[in-house]
Amino acid sequence: MEVSDRLLDRAMGIGARSVAVVGTGKNVGKTVVMRAIYRAALARGMKVGLTSIGRDGEANDFVDAFAKPRLRLAAGTLVAGALGALPRSPALEWCESTEIQSASGPIAIVRVRTESEIELVGAPTASGLRGSVAALFAHGAEFVAIDGAIDRIAALRGEDAVIVSCGAAGSTSVEAIAAEAGALVALLALPRHDDTSAALRIEGALTPMRAAELIARGERRPIVVRDATRVTLRGRALLGALDRLQIRVERPLRPVAVTVNSVGRAGSVEPKALLHAVRAAVSLPTFDLFAASAA
C-alpha cells in the first residue's frame, strides 16, 4: 500500500470525514501531503472537497516567494476558495457564493469541470473555515482536506483528523525537528478533561508565566482549557509543562499521523534518521512521502 493511502486510512480509520494538515512551520511539505491525500481519495472514487486556512496553494510562497508545490485538481473536485483567487479559465461550476469573507473576496464553492491548477485561498477565520467545510459537505463532498497555515490550529475541531507535517525547513538538526514535532503533537493530543474530577479551569490562555506559577506552587489538579489553541507554550517549554502539570482540554483534537520532509531550503537531513527520530518523539505513525517510507 502506498504512503498516501496509508495516510488517508489513518484519517478515515477514526471515522473523520475531514483531515487538516498542519505544519510545524512553513515549507515542511504540507501541500505535498494535501496532494497525496487528495489523490488517494480520488483513486478510491470519493468526491473530494478542498479548502485552506487563509492563503495556501499558490505557485510561489506568499511569505518567502519560493516556488511551491502545485495543486492540480481533477474534474469533480469541490473547492471552497476566495472569489478573487479562483481562475477565470477553464470555467468552473459555480455552486454558491457564501457570506464568508476573505482578503481576496467572499468564499465561493465551486466544482472543477476541467482538470486545472487552482490557488487555494480559504477563509482566514475559524468560523469561516467551519462554514466552508460545511458548505463543501452540503454540495456533495464525501471527504474534505484542509490545507493548514502556520500555527493556525485555532480553526481545527474534534471532527477533523489532523496530520502534522515537519521538516528541515527551519532547522537541519534531526533532534530539533523531532522535538518541535513532538511538542506540536503533544499540544494537539491534549486529552479531554474527565468532568468527574476537581479541576482548575482557565478561561483564557495558559501562558508560559501562568504555567510557571502553577508548577511553582505544585498544582496537582487537572488544568482545564477550552482547547489546545488556549495553550500558548511551545517547544520544550510545553513538553516541560506537560511533564509537571495535568493539562486537559474541553474540546480535544485528533492527530493521527506525522509526515517528515528531509529536504529543506536551508539544507537537508538524513531521511531515515529524521523519520525514526520523529517517530520516537511523537508516538504516532510517521511517513516520508518523498522517500515513500514509513515508521
Binding site: A36, L83, A292
Partner: protein, 538 residues
C-alpha cells in the same frame, strides 16, 4: 428656512425609533436600498400616509405570518445583481459568479411572483426581462442551484474544449508512460509525486532514463520525472489549447453580458419592485404580529388615541410573561399626565410619540384607534441621553433648558412635544412656572403638547386636559426582597396602570412613600417621612 429635523437623537431614543427600525428592517439588498430612499410623510401628505398604512394593513390581512416569513426567506436568499448590472453598464464582461447570481435572482423573482401574484397591493417582481434572463442562463444550470459556462452556449466553445480534451489526453498518456517507466525502474508504486527521493543505498544501477536530479545529498537524490522531447511538445499543445479555450469562454461571457445589458432597464425596475416588496412585507409582518391598525391622519388639530401601546415595552413584558396595559388619551393643544412613580406616565408619553412616528412612516399604529395630524417634528423634553454626552458641562436643568430653547426655535404648528417631568431638578415653584409657561407658549404656536408631572395644579394653570394613572391598588404584606425582577413583578401586580381623565381639583395620591417602602427603603425613614407629610398637611 430649512425644515426642522423630524426627530433628534434624544427623542428618537426616548420613543423607540431604533426598535421600530429594527422591527421593520428589510432582509434583502433591494429592501435595504429602498429603505435608504424612503422618507417620512409630513404635514400635507395625510392622504398618502393613510393610503400607505391602509395598503400595509391589507397585506398583513392577506397573508398569515408563515406566508410572510416564507416570502422573507426567499428575499433573503436573493443575490444582489447590482454589481453584475454595473459591469454590463460600462460594457464589461460578466464573471461566472455573476451569471450564477443572475440565474438565482431570476429564480427567486419568479418564485416570489407566484407567491404574491394575487396581492394587488404589491408590485410585480417578474416579467419579460426576468424571464429572458432566466432563459439566457438556463443552459448553464447545473442541478437546481449551480451554474457552468456550458458547451451548449456556443459551438466554437464546444469545439475548443474538445480540442483541449484531446491535447490533454495525449499529454497525460505520454507523461503517464514516462512515470510508469520510472516507477517500474525504481521499484515504486504506480504513483510518483512531482518530486521524489531515491536513497543512494537503494540504487544498484545508475538512475533510469527520464529522471532528472534536482538536488544531490550524501545519502539520497531528490528527483523529478524529466519530460522527453515528444512529451514537451504535447505539453505545449495542451497549453495552447487551454489558451484557446480561455479565449472562447471569454467570448461567450462577453456575448452574455451584451444581452444582459439590453435587459437592464427591466431588471432595474424589478430590483426596485423587490425593494418595495421587501419593505412592505417587513412592515406587514410587524403589523400583523403586533395587531396594528391604520391611524386616521388629517390636517386638523388634536390627538385621540384609544388603547395605545408602546411596543418596545410591550415586547419586553411579553417575553417576561407580563402584559402591557394600553392607554387612551384625547386632547387638543395641551394635556397633563399625573400619577405615581413607575405608574406609566412616561410610557404614556412614549406611546403617543411612537404612534405619531408610525403614522408619519405610513405604518399602521399600535392602537385600537388613533386620530392625529402628521407632525413636522417630534421632541422629547426631559432629562435625556444628550445631557450625559455634554461631559458634565451642564447641570440637568441647564441641559433641559437648552433642549427647550432648541425645540421652540424650530416649533411649527402640529409639532408634537412630549414633556417628561420637565425641570424636576429645580425648585418646585420655578419648575411649576416654567412648565405652565411652556405649555401656554407651545399651544399658542399650534403645537400639540403632553406633559407628565408630579406637580399639582399644572393642568388648571395651563388650561390643559388632565389625565392620571390610577396608581397603587395596595401594598403587599410581604416584602419581595432585593431582587429587582421580582420586585418589578410585585409592583406590576399592585399597580393599576390604567389612565383616565380626571377633574382639575383631583388630589394627587401619595404613592411615593408606599413605593419607597415596597422598594426596600429603610422603614424608619419611611415612617419619619409619613409623619412629616402628615404634619405639613395639618
Amino acid at each position: 428656512m430649512n425644515a426642522p429635523e423630524f426627530l433628534d437623537r434624544a427623542s428618537a431614543i426616548a420613543i423607540g425609533e431604533e426598535w421600530l427600525a429594527a422591527s421593520i428592517a428589510p432582509c434583502s439588498a433591494y429592501g435595504a436600498r429602498d429603505a435608504q430612499i424612503r422618507r417620512r410623510f409630513l404635514a400635507g401628505e395625510e392622504r398618502e400616509a393613510n393610503a400607505q398604512a391602509a395598503r400595509i394593513a391589507r397585506i398583513a390581512e392577506r397573508f398569515d405570518l408563515d406566508a410572510m416569513e416564507a416570502v422573507r426567506a426567499t428575499l433573503a436568499r436573493l443575490p444582489d445583481i447590482a454589481p453584475a448590472l454595473a459591469r454590463v453598464d460600462v460594457g464589461d464582461s460578466l464573471e461566472d459568479a455573476q451569471a450564477l447570481a443572475l440565474l438565482r435572482f431570476a429564480d427567486g423573482a419568479i418564485e416570489l411572483q407566484s407567491r404574491l401574484a394575487e396581492c394587488r397591493d404589491l408590485p410585480d417582481c417578474a416579467g419579460e426581462s426576468v424571464d429572458r434572463v432566466r432563459a439566457l442562463f438556463e443552459r448553464g444550470r447545473v442541478g437546481s442551484h449551480a451554474f457552468y459556462l456550458h458547451d451548449s452556449f456556443d459551438d466554437a466553445l464546444r469545439a475548443e474544449r474538445e480540442r483541449f480534451d484531446e491535447a490533454r489526453a495525449r499529454f497525460e498518456s505520454a507523461r503517464g508512460r514516462l512515470e510508469r517507466n520510472v516507477a517500474e525502474s525504481l521499484g515504486r508504486g504506480a504513483r510518483l509525486d512531482e518530486e521524489f527521493i531515491v536513497m543512494r543505498e537503494a540504487l544498484v544501477a545508475p538512475l533510469p532514463p527520464g529522471v532528472r536530479v534536482v538536488r544531490e545529498a550524501p545519502t539520497y537524490l531528490l528527483c523529478e520525472v524529466d519530460l522527453d522531447e515528444e512529451t514537451r511538445v504535447l505539453l505545449e499543445r495542451r497549453e495552447e489549447a487551454a489558451r484557446r479555450v480561455a479565449l472562447a469562454e471569454d467570448r461567450v461571457r462577453a456575448s452574455l453580458a451584451e444581452r444582459v445589458s439590453k435587459l437592464r432597464d427591466g431588471l432595474v425596475r424589478t430590483m426596485m419592485h423587490l425593494g418595495e416588496i421587501d419593505a412592505a412585507i417587513a412592515a406587514a409582518l410587524w403589523t400583523r404580529r403586533f395587531a396594528c391598525r391604520p391611524a386616521e391622519t388629517s390636517s386638523e388639530g388634536g390627538i385621540e388615541i384609544v388603547e395605545g401601546r408602546w411596543l418596545p415595552l410591550q415586547e419586553r413584558l411579553e417575553i417576561g410573561g407580563g402584559a402591557f396595559v394600553p392607554s387612551s388619551l384625547s386632547w387638543s393643544g395641551a394635556a397633563i399626565v399625573t400619577g405615581p412613580n413607575m405608574g406609566g406616565k412616561s410610557v404614556a408619553l412614549r406611546t403617543v410619540g411612537f404612534i405619531a412616528l408610525c403614522a408619519s412612516m405610513g405604518l399602521p399604529v399600535p392602537a385600537q384607534r388613533a386620530r392625529l395630524a402628521l407632525p413636522p417634528m417630534i421632541r422629547w423634553l426631559g432629562i435625556g441621553p444628550d445631557d450625559e454626552s455634554r461631559g458634565g458641562l451642564l447641570s440637568s436643568f441647564a441641559g433641559e433648558a437648552v433642549r427647550l430653547r432648541d425645540a421652540f426655535a424650530a416649533l411649527a404648528p402640529r409639532a408634537l412635544l412630549l414633556v417628561d417631568e420637565f425641570a424636576r431638578t429645580t425648585t418646585p415653584r420655578e419648575s411649576f412656572a416654567i412648565l405652565v409657561a411652556s405649555l401656554h407658549a407651545a399651544r399658542e404656536r399650534g403645537a400639540e403638547v403632553i406633559a407628565a408631572t408630579h406637580l399639582a395644579g399644572v393642568a388648571a394653570a395651563a388650561g390643559a386636559r388632565h389625565f392620571a394613572v390610577r396608581g397603587l391598588r395596595g401594598i403587599p404584606t410581604q416584602s419581595p426582597g432585593a431582587d429587582i425582577e421580582r420586585l418589578l413583578a410585585v409592583l406590576a401586580d399592585c399597580m393599576d396602570y390604567r389612565i383616565e381623565e380626571v377633574s382639575e381639583d383631583r388630589r394627587e395620591s401619595s404613592d411615593a412613600l408606599a413605593l419607597a417602602s415596597l422598594l426596600g427603603v429603610d422603614e424608619e425613614i419611611v415612617a419619619r417621612a409619613r409623619a412629616i407629610v402628615k404634619t405639613i398637611a395639618e
